[in-house]
Symmetry: C7
Subunit: 94 residues, 7 copies
């Protein structure tokens, strides 16, 4: 059972606290719009979204920083996922 | 008697609690925008909606995760339905 | 004396309580955006509305579910009507 | 002395209370967006308004139902007028 | 020293109270968006404004009714002017 | 060291109080959107800004009236500047 | 490990207080939208962003004034970065 995102949506899995420590990302505690490090699990097909052509720039396995502001949390078979629009992904961590 | 959605609207039927348990979706209780698992019952024709071309990507029978935020609940012949725009469907569960 | 709607507007007449019962539509009492079953009385010509081409998809006599949120109530010769934009009609009941 | 509206604006003159009674329009007292019956006094040229082509659909002498929400009241030589955009006119009463 | 408006802006000079009385314009005291009679002093060149082609429809010397809502008051060499966008001019008084 | 504005931005230097007195500009004290007289110090290249073609209409040395509402104050080497978008400049004073 | 911004995003590193003093930038303490001097660390590829063509105008190493209003703070390997859209960069300091 897996999540297949529509349009320009991307399924993310938040990195564990240990991983976060290892990668050195520290989230400012009081930030209104909390950035997050996560791994890309699934990528929508892109195409025409809300009347605009969207090309998908991230791929499965990418580590990304995203803005949690517009994401939606989903739990599937005891795993927690976040579904965001690609536009809510700020950068890839290489 | 059935609901025939207009434009890019989709008629959903929320999955029963048992099904929800079986599929493992657990909704965060305090979430502002509650994600929901549902089955697609009817799909609008798409086409030009609000001046933008919309292609319908879901089909009858799909299990989907949707954002309840903009949906409208309707009860028809003792069945409860949700009518959402396709854009409020986040992902298909396969 | 009759109402001739402009642009993408549609004149609706709410179905009586008995009809509502017969068709089985029950409106959730506390819903913020109350869905309603109504009959289409008159349909505007469509065309370019707010800079966008709109094709009218409903016809006189259709039973429809609409979102009351943006509608305007009008009483003409002791009949109550609702004038909505077609976009506020969610589905046709067949 | 007369008002010549610009763009897609329309000058309306509200029908007197007697006329309102005769035509049977009764306004719901507590409505947030009060519909009104009025006569069209002058019609702007239409054309490109806010970057969009607007064709004028009403003509001088039409009885119309309009949404008072965005109108502006003007008194000229002891006559009261309302200036609205055509988009605020919901229907013509024939 | 004179004001040369940019884009679709128009410089207006409010008519004196006497003139207002003579022309019979009376402003509703509690109106949220106060209409005003004024004379056009200078007209911007129009052209592409905010990505949209704007043709200037008023000319110097026109008496106009404008919506004060978005205007900006300026005092230059002891004269008071109002700078508005042409879109805030509702009608010309002829 | 100098400021080179991006896109349709313009760097302004507010005129001194004396200059303001000399030119006769008096700002209404309680105005929500305070107009200001300033000199143009640097002009961005224009071009495509937020998807729209913008041609720069002001030039270095122009005296302008601007709306302070959206401007950003910057102090560089003990000089105070205001950075505004050209759209926030209402008129040139000639 | 480095941040690779998506679309029209830019990774900035705020200049140290000493540098700020040296360059003479003083931020108004109570400003709602705080301008900031920073160095450009990484620049996204631009291209079609939200349906609009965006050309990147800044390059790595530029000193820029940006509006902090929409930026997101990220800490990576004990360095603090700000990720902004290019549109939030007001000017380059040369």
């Amino acid at each position: 059972m897996k999540l297949v995102p529509l349009g320009d949506r991307v399924v993310l899995k938040q990195l564990e606290a240990e991983q976060v420590t290892k990668s050195g990302i520290v989230l400012p505690s009081g930030a209104k719009e909390k950035p997050q490090e996560a791994e890309v699990i699934a990528v929508g097909p892109g195409g025409i979204v809300d009347g605009k052509e969207v090309a998908m720039e991230v791929k499965v396995g990418d580590k990304v920083i995203y803005s949690k502001y517009a994401g939606t949390e989903v739990k599937l078979e005891n795993n927690d996922y976040i579904i965001v629009k690609q536009n809510d992904i700020l950068a890839v961590v290489e």
